[in-house]
Symmetry: C2
Subunit: 218 residues, 2 copies
């Protein structure tokens, strides 16, 4: 617990997305402790896999690992839940972009298609609308983790494994329904969402690349 607090400080000092150079004495000031404790904290964080270090005679270079970032995110989400519990809806805003065209393939796959029909209660239009999130929405996307999601199971077909994912029902303009689909695959970009809908969204909402769009998570 005390370690998370130290990790937070490191993140604030710039270790969240970069390398910071500091000595135990320096760090001690930030966490209001003795240099010994500061040193021990760094050791503990390293052992927990939250940071990586390179110790030099003049101090150390510290970087937060993916695991560390996840630990911070968990904490962040809890606070976020406290402060946004009463704002029942989340909005995400971004710009329409062209995806890799995989959407059309996947929405047509029986293994996915049947789950969409059953769980989302609509017949998905073949193809997805890709949105690149902007500004605040990039951070807000992680808020989805707090919401209940509809789980889409993975499956095997044609000697291939198709991964699972989760869906969040949304509302778009003009009363259009849809759902955000987030594959559970690990290396999915954080600032892009993929939307499936019973309708051709580009036609109905008159969207083209670069169009600004806001979706409301239900």
């Amino acid at each position: 617990m005390e370690n998370i607090s130290a990790l937070k400080k490191l993140a604030l000092l710039g270790g969240f997305d970069g390398i910071i150079t500091l000595s135990s004495t320096e760090f001690a000031q930030y966490i209001s402790s003795s240099p010994q404790t500061a040193s021990r904290r760094l050791q503990a964080l390293e052992q927990a896999g939250y940071i990586t270090r390179k110790i030099e005679s003049s101090g150390q270079k510290v970087m937060i690992t993916k695991q560390g970032r996840q630990a911070l995110e968990t904490e962040y989400m809890e606070y976020r839940q406290i402060f946004t519990r009463n704002s029942t809806h989340i909005e995400l805003t971004g710009k329409v972009i062209t995806g890799l065209g995989e959407g059309q393939y996947y929405t047509n796959l029986k293994g996915y298609h049947d789950q969409f029909v059953k769980l989302l209660e609509f017949e998905p239009y073949p193809g997805t609308l890709n949105i690149k999130l902007e500004g605040e929405s990039v951070g807000c996307r992680t808020m989805l983790n707090l919401k209940d999601s509809i789980i889409i199971d993975g499956f095997n077909s044609k000697n291939r494994t198709f991964g699972g994912g989760r869906c969040y029902p949304i509302k778009l303009g003009k009363g259009t329904r849809g759902a955000i689909m987030i594959p559970e695959r690990t290396h999915y970009p954080e600032d892009i969402i993929e939307i499936i809908s019973p309708e051709n969204l580009r036609n109905k909402l008159k969207l083209k690349d670069g169009s600004k769009i806001t979706v409301l998570i239900e």
Copy 2:
């Protein structure tokens, strides 16, 4: 530090905006400790002024105080800063509402007017545009505290005291400049912002009550 963590748990259990009833034994489960430690935590939180309690033979009724909420907010803001540091701009969205008409009076007061001209580098149009924030923006407003602000000093005039406040330069539509003015007075609603600008915003941006508007904090 350990206490803030306990406070967070209480907030998540519903104590943030209500009264929760629990016993030490119950709370112990949530914070993974012994009932004794749980009891001690509650005592410490009370002593710190973060919660108020009403102890009964069957347990206790707990409520988080304003001070407690502020402590949590401080923590929340730090995490928020970590996760949104790279999104340089904050956007706030809401609907135009009619204020109390005080804006016109205040913007004309020499004590304020001269500071606006000097610090914001524009001649304020007499009157303010009031916006009721919506959705995510309500929570985002507190993010302003992380930004540098322009301090407007209070002053005395005509046997009255006029309070100070802080300003944040913003951009509205069509390249219009302006600033959010937040009085430092304690009981100012959290979901309303007041905007001063060199122009008559209602005319220039064709706004009326209920119009949706987004402002971009610089």
